[in-house]
C-alpha cells in the first residue's frame, strides 16, 4: 500500500493533485459541458499525452524534442489507416474505378492496396503498431544520436528536421497517405459508428483513463532510481557516465517511452476527431506541444495537462475573434513563461498556491468567527 502511495502517486501532494485532475476530467467537465464541448476537451486531452511525454523528455532528462508531432502523427495515422480501410469496403466504394481501396488512392490512379496498408486490416495489428512503430522509429533516431553523444540544441534541430521530412513525405505521397488533406471520412470501428455522440462519450472516458494511466506509469518511473538518474544526467552527464552507466541507453529508453505516449495521444485523436492529417505532424504542432508543457510546467506531469487545456481553450476563444493575433499571443506567452515562470503553472501553484488555500481557510475561519462568541475575536487577527 505504501508502495502504491509513494511510487505511483508521489506522496500526499501528488495524490491530491492526481485526484483533483481525475475528478475534473472524469466528473466535473462531463457534468457541465455539452457533448460538443466535451468532444473538444477530449481532443485537447489527446495533446496532453504529448505534453506529458515532454515533461519526461525535456523536463526531467533535459532532452528537448521539437518533433513529438512525429510520434503523435505515427499513432494517429496507424489508427486512421485501420479506420479508413474499414470505411473503404467494396460496397461503400462501389462507384470507384477500383472498389475496396481508400478513395484518395483511387483518385490518384492507384489500383491495388499498397503492401504496407495490408496489415492494417487487422485491429490487433493496428493496436500493436500504434505502440511499436513509434517506439522502433524513436529507437533508431535515439540510437543514432545518443550513442554519438548528440544532444541539446543539435538534437532539437534534428528532431525538427525529421518532423519536416515526414510532413513533406506525407504530403508528397498523396496516393499512399491522402496527402495534405490527410485521411478523412472515417466512420466505423469494427462496425461501431464512431461519429455518434455515445461513441464520442466513450472515447472521451477511454482517453481520460489512458491519460491518467500514463501519468501513473510516468510517476513510477520518475520516483524510481531511473528518475533520479534522469535528473543526474541532466545536471552532470559525465559524472553519471563515470559512475558506470551507459548514458545513451537511458536517453534512448526515455525517448522511446515519450514516443509511445505521444502515439497513444495521436491514436485517440483520430478516434475522437475522425480524421488525421499532416498538420498534426510538422513543426508547428510539435512546437505547440512544447509550449503546452512549458506553460503547464515542464517538471510537472499534471501541470502539463493543465497547460495543454489552458492554451487550447485560449486558442479556441481567441482565434474565433482574433485569428491573426493568436499566434503572436501564443509566442509572447511562451517567451513570458520561459523568462518569468520557468516552472510554469505548476511552479506558480507551488509558490503562490498556499495563498489561495490560505484564503479558503480564511473564509472558513470567517464563518467560524461569525458563529463563535466574541472571546475568540483575537484568533483571526493574529493570523
Amino acid at each position: 500500500m505504501t508502495f502504491v502511495y509513494q511510487k505511483l502517486m508521489g506522496g500526499k501532494n501528488g495524490l491530491t493533485g492526481f485526484i483533483i485532475l481525475a475528478a475534473l476530467i472524469l466528473v466535473v467537465f462531463p457534468m457541465f459541458l455539452d457533448s460538443f464541448r466535451l468532444n473538444l476537451l477530449g481532443k485537447y486531452l489527446t495533446y496532453a499525452f504529448a505534453a506529458v511525454s515532454l515533461v519526461l523528455l525535456w523536463g526531467y532528462s533535459g532532452t528537448l524534442s521539437l518533433g513529438q508531432g512525429i510520434f503523435f502523427g505515427l499513432g494517429g495515422y496507424a489508427m486512421a489507416m485501420f479506420l479508413k480501410l474499414e470505411a473503404s469496403s467494396p460496397e461503400n466504394t462501389a462507384i470507384q474505378s477500383t472498389p475496396g481501396i481508400p478513395d484518395f488512392m483511387d483518385w490518384n490512379q492507384i489500383t491495388s492496396l499498397p503492401w504496407f496498408w495490408e496489415p492494417f486490416n487487422s485491429f490487433t495489428f493496428t493496436l500493436i503498431a500504434i505502440l511499436v512503430v513509434p517506439a522502433v522509429f524513436a529507437y533508431l533516431i535515439g540510437a543514432a544520436m545518443f550513442k554519438r553523444r548528440v544532444g541539446g540544441v543539435y538534437f532539437a534541430i534534428i528532431t525538427q528536421v525529421i518532423a519536416v521530412i515526414l510532413t513533406v513525405l506525407i504530403v508528397g505521397q498523396q496516393g499512399f497517405t491522402g496527402g495534405i488533406n490527410g485521411i478523412t471520412d472515417l466512420r466505423t470501428l469494427n462496425g461501431w459508428d464512431i461519429t455518434s455522440d455515445s461513441a464520442k462519450n466513450i472515447f472521451y472516458y477511454i482517453n481520460c483513463f489512458l491519460l491518467l494511466g500514463v501519468i501513473i506509469v510516468s510517476r513510477y518511473i520518475l520516483t524510481s532510481k531511473f528518475g533520479s538518474l534522469l535528473l543526474a544526467m541532466r545536471d552532470k552527464e559525465d559524472r553519471v557516465r563515470f559512475s558506470g552507466y551507459d548514458v545513451a541507453n537511458f536517453k534512448i529508453f526515455i525517448f522511446c517511452l515519450a514516443a509511445v505516449i505521444s502515439a497513444i495521444g495521436g491514436a485517440m485523436f483520430t478516434l475522437q476527431v475522425g480524421f488525421m492529417s499532416p498538420s498534426f505532424v510538422g513543426i508547428v504542432p510539435s512546437i505547440e506541444m512544447v509550449i503546452f508543457a512549458a506553460v503547464g510546467g515542464r517538471m510537472s506531469l499534471i501541470g502539463a495537462v493543465y497547460g495543454t487545456l489552458l492554451i487550447n481553450f485560449g486558442k479556441t476563444a481567441f482565434s474565433e475573434s482574433f485569428p491573426e493575433v493568436w499566434l503572436f499571443l501564443m509566442g509572447g506567452l511562451f517567451i513570458a513563461v520561459v523568462m518569468f515562470f520557468p516552472h510554469g503553472l505548476a511552479g506558480l501553484w507551488q509558490d503562490y498556491g498556499h495563498h489561495i488555500t490560505n484564503k479558503f481557510s480564511f473564509i472558513i475561519n470567517g464563518f467560524n468567527k461569525l458563529k463563535a462568541p466574541l472571546i475568540r475575536k483575537k484568533v483571526g487577527e493574529v493570523k
Partner: protein, 249 residues
C-alpha cells in the same frame, strides 16, 4: 603491441596522446601498486589531467597501453572502465545539485546500472546501510537529506569522493581534491585520503606541495607531457630538474 603482465594495480606503459600533432602526453610510464597513494604533480599544462582522462577513457590514447589489474583499458568505453573498478573524481566538484546527499550516493550505488535494473531498483536496508557507512566516512552523515547544491565547496568535494567510495573501486583517481578548501578541510581531507587508501590504490593530482607531503607514498613529476622525476617525495624534492621547472617558482 608488446603486452606484459605485472603485479601492479595500474601499469601505464608508453602512453602517448597527440592533439593535432601536439603531444599532451608523451611516452609516459607510470606504475601504481596496491595500497599505494601515488601523487602526480607538475606545472600547469604538464598533462596531469590528460593522464587521468586517458586512464578513465574520457580521452582515447594515440598509442601505448593502460593496464588495470592486467586488463587492457584503452579499448573499453567509459562505463566499462568504471565497472572494472576505476573511479575518477573531477577537478570541479561534480555532484548532482538537485538531488539530496542520500540520493547522490544512491544513484552512485553500483547496482541497477541498466535501464531495467534502475527501474526495479529498491532502496533496501542493505543499500541504506552502505549509504550511511559512506556518509559517516565523508563526514556528511548529518546532511543526508540536504540538497547537494546547498553544501559548502569542501563538502561537495567529499560527497564526490563518497560517490566513488560507494562503488568500492580498486583504483581511485582524484583530480585536485583540496582545491579551494579551507585549512581545516584540507586536514580532514588528508585524513580521509589516508584512510581510504587502505586496501586500494589511489592516484591523486595535486598542486599543494604541503598537502602532497602529508599524503603521498610516491610522487611523479610531469613536465610537458613527460616524466621529469619519480620516486619518494623527499628524493624528488631534491632533484635539480624538479626545482628548476616547478618547485623553484
Amino acid at each position: 603491441m608488446i603486452t606484459t603482465n605485472t603485479d601492479f594495480t595500474l601499469a601505464v606503459e608508453d602512453l602517448t596522446v597527440s592533439f593535432d600533432g601536439f603531444k599532451a602526453v608523451d611516452s609516459l610510464n607510470l606504475y601504481v601498486d596496491k595500497n599505494e597513494l601515488h601523487v602526480v604533480i607538475g606545472p600547469n599544462g604538464a598533462g596531469k589531467t590528460t593522464v587521468l582522462d586517458l586512464i578513465c577513457g574520457k580521452t582515447k590514447s594515440t598509442s601505448g597501453s593502460i593496464k588495470f589489474l592486467n586488463k587492457e583499458l584503452t579499448k573499453l568505453s567509459e562505463h566499462e572502465i568504471v565497472r572494472e573498478g576505476v573511479g575518477r573524481k573531477f577537478q570541479t566538484p561534480s555532484i548532482y545539485e538537485n538531488l539530496s546527499v542520500l540520493e547522490n550516493l544512491e544513484v552512485s550505488y553500483p547496482y541497477g546500472r541498466g535501464v531495467l535494473g534502475s527501474l526495479m531498483f529498491k532502496r533496501t536496508e542493505k543499500v541504506l546501510h552502505k549509504i550511511h557507512e559512506i556518509a559517516k566516512e565523508i563526514m556528511l552523515y548529518d546532511q543526508l537529506e540536504v540538497e547537494a547544491g546547498l553544501l559548502s565547496h569542501g563538502q561537495k568535494q567529499w560527497l564526490e569522493i563518497g560517490m566513488l567510495l560507494i562503488q568500492d573501486p580498486q583504483l581511485l583517481m582524484l583530480d585536485e581534491p583540496v582545491a579551494g578548501m579551507s585549512v581545516k578541510e584540507r586536514e580532514q581531507t588528508a585524513e580521509l585520503l589516508n584512510k581510504i587508501s587502505k586496501g586500494r590504490s589511489v592516484l591523486v593530482i595535486e598542486h599543494d606541495m604541503e598537502f602532497v607531503e602529508r599524503i603521498a607514498d610516491k610522487v611523479t613529476v610531469l613536465h610537458q607531457g613527460k616524466i621529469l622525476a619519480a620516486g619518494y617525495m623527499k628524493d624528488v624534492q631534491k632533484d635539480p630538474n624538479v626545482i628548476e621547472v616547478y618547485l623553484g617558482h
